[in-house]
């Protein structure tokens, strides 16, 4: 009697665990739509926005604390990572299901699909390394960096990868062809966010500031020698940059400000957008900006800096990825 009861209990427990482990189905995303997806930290969700209609399609409630995503060149596979997540998980958008899982270990804080060699660079803060994977999930090579790497920036022409470390005042440069670390140079502390002007050979680097001090300026260095050139005021906490047709858009999360600068650093225009925005993307001359505190997405006309539309998303949008059709 007891033994059969035990069997039933074990069976039920097994069913419970297996069912909770099984691939959870999510509402599918139509293949033909141009979408933006936000990774929302506070409520562990993904919000999908139809870029043509400029409205939210749906949310995926995730069961792991993902902090970022990459959409593969196939336009269907979305890769999700998080510092506290043991694996990097791949989902199919059209099927709404998990399709693969890469055992990377915890500590992945950033990722980028590189133009050079169609590789994925993952930033690992536990190992303090940049790890390069092919699209099948095989780790191809890796390079050690300074403590707590965070921002990575690809120089497409020079085929280099710039790595900013949060805690070390040292920039790491990786040769993507030779697959090795090159000589880096010292930069300002708590650097975050960067833009590379390959024509002028300049790298613009932002940051949060150290201690109670707020970073108010963009620091401009020579991208080759690392010599400090000048500071461009962009208060406060400039942490996101997008270059477009001789303009640079700078997002300062401390004041929730979007600046439009020329390449010399002159302010052409600025607006207040969202609350505490961290993330910005440029799609078809439209800037998409996520307000981390305001839980919304702003679509801004990059010509006149007018907010075209504000769309509510999940809580704490921290990263945006885009698929264009």
């Amino acid at each position: 009697m007891m033994r059969s009861l035990l069997k039933v209990v074990i069976f039920l427990v097994a069913v419970f665990f297996l069912s909770s482990c099984s691939n959870k189905g999510y509402p599918p995303i139509q293949e033909d739509r141009s979408i933006a997806a936000t990774v929302n930290i506070k409520d562990k969700s993904l919000s999908f926005i139809d870029l043509d209609k400029m409205e939210k399609m749906l949310d995926w409630e995730m069961d792991k604390p993902y902090t970022g995503a990459i959409i593969f060149p196939d336009g269907d596979t979305i890769l999700l990572y998080g510092k506290q997540v043991e694996t990097v998980d791949l989902y199919s958008l059209k099927r709404g299901q998990k399709i693969d899982s890469w055992k990377t270990g915890k500590g992945i804080v950033n990722g980028k699909l590189l133009q050079v060699g169609s590789e994925i660079a993952l930033v690992d803060q536990d190992l303090n390394k940049i790890r390069f994977f092919n699209l099948e999930g095989e780790e191809l090579w890796k390079v050690s960096t300074e403590l707590n790497p965070l921002t990575i920036l690809e120089a497409e022409k020079e085929k280099k990868l710039f790595v900013l470390s949060f805690n070390k005042e040292q920039l790491t440069v990786i040769d993507l062809v030779k697959k090795e670390k090159m000589a880096g140079y010292p930069i300002h502390p708590s650097a975050a966010g960067a833009w590379l002007n390959e024509e002028k050979g300049e790298i613009w680097i932002g940051g949060h500031g150290t201690g109670a001090e707020i970073e108010r300026d963009i620091h401009v260095y020579d991208s080759i020698s690392g010599n400090f050139k000048r500071k461009i005021p962009a208060p406060s906490m400039p942490i996101n940059f997008i270059g477009n047709h001789n303009h640079v858009f700078v997002l300062s999360h401390g004041t929730s400000k979007l600046y439009q600068l020329d390449e010399d650093g002159n302010v052409l225009g600025s607006i207040v957008v969202g609350a505490n925005p961290f993330e910005m993307l440029l799609v078809d001359n439209q800037l998409i900006i996520a307000g981390y505190d305001s839980n919304d997405l702003h679509i801004v006309d990059s010509e006149n800096l007018k907010i075209i539309k504000t769309i509510s998303v999940g809580n704490g949008p921290f990263q945006i990825v885009v698929r264009e059709r």
Partner: protein
């Protein structure tokens, strides 16, 4: 106040004291809690109000230096420490980047502030390196947290008030304790004094002093106990007196025949009595010995009756016949005393009784009647009554004084104590008769008028055939 270890006074005193102490301590903590809660709540409310008033000065947009100066000025005038913060780093704006910096506001607090709600905290704050009570008011421009107003007071200030309160309480508590213990002691003394009195009285009684009386006017249980004790003591005293009197009576009754016997036998022995008188003296000795025999026999009967060892053997008995047989031996004696005797009996009455004992009762009563009647009349009637039968023996003798009526059945009681014992009564007759009748389930009543006569009535149950 000294106690022995087992005294009820000590137990009571300890109980009362413990109850008082527990009550004081309990009420102290309770009121401390309430006081603290109320005071802390009040302080918190004031901080909130103050904060909201200051926040009303903010009109949106980035915080201006003017506003900061005004808040600083206010802070310098106010007892509360107040400062305004616009630094996003202090407000955890960079939180998702895992910034290695101890911010003023935590992530969860920021979430609350973003919703427009103030944050209250109480406890140790590392930033100020002390315990504080703080209220944080958000300054929101739409949904942007542009800054906060941080108001706090050190908890030490609150504890100071609490300490003052505690001292006051302690003094009041000790004062109350002293008064309460003093009154408690008085109360315990008042409560236990009758008990101690009773104990002393009981000791006196056990030493033979039955005259002790406890004076307690209260009507409570202890008062009732004191009354019961007094009653018991007087009962014991009466019983003791009765015992002494009984012993005195017995020795007195025995001494008379013994002194006769001793005197006459001495005279015979020494030969001072003439030979022709010797037989007269011998018969006197014989008579006194017979009297002693009767006395001892009666005493033995009474003792058996008292100790319930007396056995009566009941048989169905025609009462009329028994009475007729019994009275025959008195006819002659009555004639000698010129007493007119009439009797009238119902011959059909049958009782369940011991013939010998019923006869003994009749003898005792008739002996008394004849003894106290001279030239008069004795009447005996036996008839059926509602509940059985009744024997009435009426004489026209000397009667009994009213004041002696309730003692008449007592042992050795004689109405006239100076009376000679020439006719040989032992003074135990009525006592024995009453006991025997009660053993037959009946009653014995005496009714008498001084100088007119006495009527003894015996009621017995009859046997229904």
């Amino acid at each position: 106040m000294t106690f022995n270890m087992d005294s009820i006074a000590k137990k009571l005193w300890l109980t009362i004291t413990a109850a008082i102490v527990v009550t004081i301590i309990y009420s102290y903590f309770l009121s401390y809690l309430f006081y603290e809660k109320l005071y802390v709540e009040n302080v918190e409310e004031n901080l909130l109000e103050e904060g909201h008033r200051l926040a009303a000065e903010y009109e949106g947009g980035p915080l201006t230096d003017e506003l900061k100066d005004r808040i600083d000025w206010y802070s310098s005038k106010s007892e509360t420490e107040i400062f305004i913060v616009s630094n996003p780093r202090e407000l955890s704006a960079c939180l998702p980047f895992d910034i290695d910096y101890e911010t003023l506001i935590s992530g969860t607090e920021r979430e609350k502030l973003l919703k427009g709600k103030p944050v209250q905290k109480i406890g140790y704050e590392e930033r100020f390196d002390r315990k504080i009570m703080a209220v944080v008011i958000p300054l929101l421009d739409e949904n942007r947290l542009e800054g906060i107003i941080y108001l706090y007071i050190p908890l030490a200030k609150i504890s100071e008030v609490m300490t003052d309160f505690a001292y006051l309480w302690m003094i009041a508590g000790i004062l109350f304790l002293v008064i309460a213990i003093f009154t408690g002691t008085m109360l315990v003394r008042k409560l236990t004094k009758p008990l101690i009195d009773m104990k002393d009285a009981a000791e006196k009684v056990s030493l033979g002093d039955y005259s002790v009386k406890i004076t307690n006017d209260s009507m409570d249980e202890i008062g009732q106990l004191a009354q019961a004790f007094n009653h018991m003591a007087s009962s014991i005293q009466k019983e003791d007196e009765r015992k002494k009197e009984f012993l005195a009576n017995v020795s007195h009754e025995l001494r008379t025949p013994i002194s006769y016997i001793k005197g006459y036998s001495d005279a015979l022995h020494t030969g001072i009595i003439k030979e022709e008188d010797q037989s007269k003296y011998l018969s006197l000795i014989h008579r006194e010995a017979g009297r002693m025999e009767r006395l001892v026999g009666d005493l033995l009967d009474l003792s058996k009756l008292d100790s319930n060892e007396f056995k009566i053997e009941k048989t169905p008995l025609p009462l009329g016949q028994l009475i007729e047989d019994s009275v025959q031996k008195y006819i002659l004696k009555m004639r000698e005393k010129e007493i007119e005797f009439n009797y009238e009996v119902d011959p059909d009455i049958i009782i369940n009784g011991d013939a010998g004992r019923i006869e003994q009762v009749l003898q005792n009563i008739l002996d008394n009647s004849i003894r106290y009647t001279d030239k008069g009349r004795i009447t005996l009637k036996m008839f059926k009554t509602y509940s059985g039968c009744s024997i009435e023996i009426t004489d026209t003798g000397v009667g009994i004084p009213a004041e002696d009526m309730d003692k008449i059945k007592q042992r050795f009681f004689r109405v006239n104590r100076a009376r000679t014992r020439k006719d040989g009564g032992t003074g135990l007759g009525l006592a024995i008769a009453e006991k025997l009748i009660s053993l037959h389930g009946g009653t014995l009543n005496i009714d008498s008028q001084l100088g007119k006569g006495t009527m003894v009535q015996i009621n017995l149950p009859v046997l229904d055939i």
